[in-house]
Subunit: 310 residues, 4 copies
């Protein structure tokens, strides 16, 4: 399909259901896509952080993007993460995404290696020039360990290198700077998407175009209601929906920090919730993440019940 | 060949010469291997940080390990970096290294994702259990953004998961803790290798087994003399050699920090030096790194001349 | 005066005007207080980051709090920063603030030393128990290098240890978590104040009680209009005011990053603006900060003019 | 007394014994000084990190420096930490140290505030110009959150601003760069002191002038033997002594990380050891640090016994 310009609305980063053997569970993945489309989402983002892209070997990544693009069949645009250390490695993933028929790619600054703003710019230019897909910059300092500079992002947008920004930095002052900068520079087709689960109403009030919430796997209907309320200018309703989702989001902390890290806990909670809601068959996260215990999974159930989702 | 147990001596991380089109320059790579073997090195480490592993797509990585293993023909052991975000992705690289005939792999803790000591341990166990090669842990906090804990490393060594440690953390107190711990736990076949260019004599005096110096590309003979002097207990000679190499190492700062990052500058200087010494055809580093200017390259030449290498 | 419970509204962190000899310029300080009160602010916060507290010796700090409390004469509450490394040192500043007649103190977690959540809690309890003033926790990770945990803050609020939070972390998801937690725990007298200059409208929409904007020195009237619009539920007007202030805020980047740090540039710009607006006599920041050049000061003037403030 | 130029040898950072009421225990402090002088140390450093300077209010700091300088009576030089955020605050501490008769001060780069190399240089120049004592730069990135650049340190040494460097960065490659740079620039009176407990033999082998080990409180005789062996070129003996001290140093980890931070554990262990050895009356660290439990203190005793110190 043609990518809307700018991309707007709710574009959840799609979890990757796995079998107990750590293979991609395609049937569950397709049910998850149905669940999200039923929620009314405006696009899908596969192979992002919530998709456990960092844990998926290339074979798994290929299955995910191939199957989701084919299954969606153009109903909504599909973005694919092309998460790797530097430009040439990223371009291999961009080619795979293009071959599968994805509508755009999401790309971070270089990581693992030490980098520099001039190199970050060159990196995005290379990916845009040599790849065959629109590029969304992915600002995720918790993983990449550098913050994308607002002026650099806007310069690359003005050059036509970037089609949008997925801002998962948690820095809403910075997000606003990009929104206002895009307006000041007359870049109406540049999409600013927040990766926050918790400040979607305020990001939209600032002028962001859309939202890419990991928690949207669990409750796509909620984020779609939130987005539509904001679009309609019904900020009280948007806030109420957001506050319900903030409470639900606390599920990410169910995992015991003595036993596991934040990824195991947070993504484990999303998958446990999808399992409890009957969407996916197996709640396991990819190795070497640590599985939730039974008691921790029960806590996830309580969060779902409190949010009216069980 | 059979990997010595423990691995000892000078094991340089081999630079990856590139063509102006950013392809692997195999002829230059083979000349570089000759240069290193001529220097008397005890092993080679391909696809590490100094090899620009973070910049090389899988196709380039495969060419490098295939060609170097074949070219070396068992004269010295060849380790290969299997640098990727988590265990399953790493295992793809381990398989490629095993297929090529490498003698061991060098593996970091998970990166990009948030992790936890329990997950780090599980990660290394998976790589060792499912891979077919001895595993050296690579401690490189500047890239990985976590430090490997000495007790965790020793526990994994005692379990047989790890064959050695490449410590590029710059924390020589921590290195010493591993050396003394390996001795206390009677782990004589566990290799502790420092990744420092600047404190090799002292690491060896502490009981480290070997050294993996990026600068060893430029002056393998110097590091071999240093290692042999230390082995002979001639610490005065070791120190003198080390101090000469410390002066030479200052070449890594030739690049203008307004124009480029530390990787472009440091690896650019190593490659410029190899080019000036006639070892490789083209001094370019991989994109999106920024090339050294003519004036910066001249500075590299002055460093070489001062060290008696031109 | 009695501190409102909770404290609400616009409470700017008051800049500390200095003489060319780096002494406190009391006449300018009093004119600045007049300027802020004329703007309609609801309180004043002396000896915070925008006040250059880190640069002021205890003698200067004492002059500032003494003179401002006396000059304000109870028209609005005056909070005083008690910025120091750990509890006993903080308590010396709390005593000075109490002696001067301040209405509350603003205190960070321990810094410089390595700390722990249990020690952070003990620190705040000591300061509250032994000090004679209400305590506001100051979350400023850029300076303190730890983030205050939302649950810890709420626990201390529930215990009566904390009267409020000044959140300058830039993490509006975290701010919201505290706001919602204070509501869920029925802590209506606990004040949540944002330290952001750029997301005040959204923080207030989330339920924050007030704002502590450094830029409020330059344009107190603007922040007061913004706050009052939000209070009246006129979010369109609040947003428009906020966006004007976002543009004005860009003055903090006038300083050349090759010559100076972010503090010299940002606080230098605020003081230059106050000087250009005729409020203070001398725009110098405290040593060892680097003064703005004439050209940089001209840029500040352009920002003022564009915002209608010259 | 006249400060040796350069300062050399073992200069332990003196712990600050406290009463159960958190007051300075002067009698214990004097016994600790006796213990250190009996060990043969070459100088004393009060009010450093191991002295809990970050926890001591100015009144306590004054008691410490006054009493130690008076008690030592010129037998060895006494350095005093002047630990505060920026130059003018530091200068207040420098004046107190000069009034007490200290022989030099130890000063970090600015902290808490955001800073810049130009401001760091200006900071040290101000402290040296306006203070009446020789200035030693204190490189402690774990506390200060910036690393002192080797070239900046050497430039300030060449200007006469700095009398020495206490390097507690743990980066022995950087330490060596300063040592070699001081030699290359012919700065024979500039003292390079390592703050490491674990790599003293190698730092001395590189050419460092002395050592400032926190563990030297517990076993000053050991560090003096180590220093003298190194001075005599008996590296085998130096290494054996160092390895014994490395084992002893593991006491710093006795504290349960679920209950306390690294400062509580490490400084608590040093004080528990001094208490168990009969040097000080009370092992408590300053509030808000968490005290060691009985079981944790027993572990300290086992470390002492294993090192032959009980």
């Amino acid at each position: 399909m043609t990518l809307p310009s700018p991309l707007t609305g709710v574009v959840p980063p799609v979890c990757t259901p796995l079998t107990p053997d750590n293979e991609v569970d395609v049937a569950s993945l397709e049910r998850l896509v149905d669940h999200l489309l039923d929620g009314g989402v405006d696009g899908l983002f596969v192979l992002g952080s919530s998709s456990e892209a960092a844990y998926l070997p290339d074979g798994h990544r290929k299955v995910v993007v191939d199957r989701v693009v084919r299954y969606v069949g153009g109903q909504v645009p599909v973005l694919a993460g092309a998460i790797d250390m530097t430009a040439l490695r990223v371009l291999d993933h961009v080619r795979a995404a293009a071959d599968a028929g994805a509508d755009g790619v999401v790309v971070t600054a270089p990581f693992y290696t030490r980098t520099h703003p001039a190199e970050v710019a060159r990196h995005f230019r290379l990916v845009a020039d040599r790849g065959a897909l629109p590029v969304f910059a992915y600002d995720l300092p918790v993983s990449v360990h550098t913050k994308l500079d607002a002026d650099l992002v806007l310069d690359l947008a003005a050059e036509g290198v970037l089609a949008g920004l997925k801002d998962s930095s948690g820095d809403d002052g910075g997000l606003r700077r990009v929104v206002l900068g895009a307006h000041a520079r007359a870049l109406p087709s540049f999409a600013v998407l927040t990766g926050s689960e918790l400040t979607v109403d305020s990001a939209l009030a600032m002028g962001a175009d859309g939202v890419v919430p990991g928690l949207g796997n669990v409750d796509p209907h909620g984020y779609v209601r939130l987005y539509r309320a904001a679009l309609a200018g019904d900020w009280a309703r948007a806030r109420a929906e957001q506050e319900r989702l903030c409470a639900l989001y606390r599920m990410v902390a169910v995992g015991d920090p003595l036993r596991m890290g934040a990824s195991s806990s947070g993504l484990g909670a999303f998958k446990a919730a999808l399992h409890l809601r009957g969407v996916i068959d197996c709640p396991l996260t990819a190795v070497p993440q640590v599985p939730l215990s039974g008691a921790e999974t029960e806590q996830v159930g309580k969060h779902l019940a409190a949010a009216g989702l069980l």
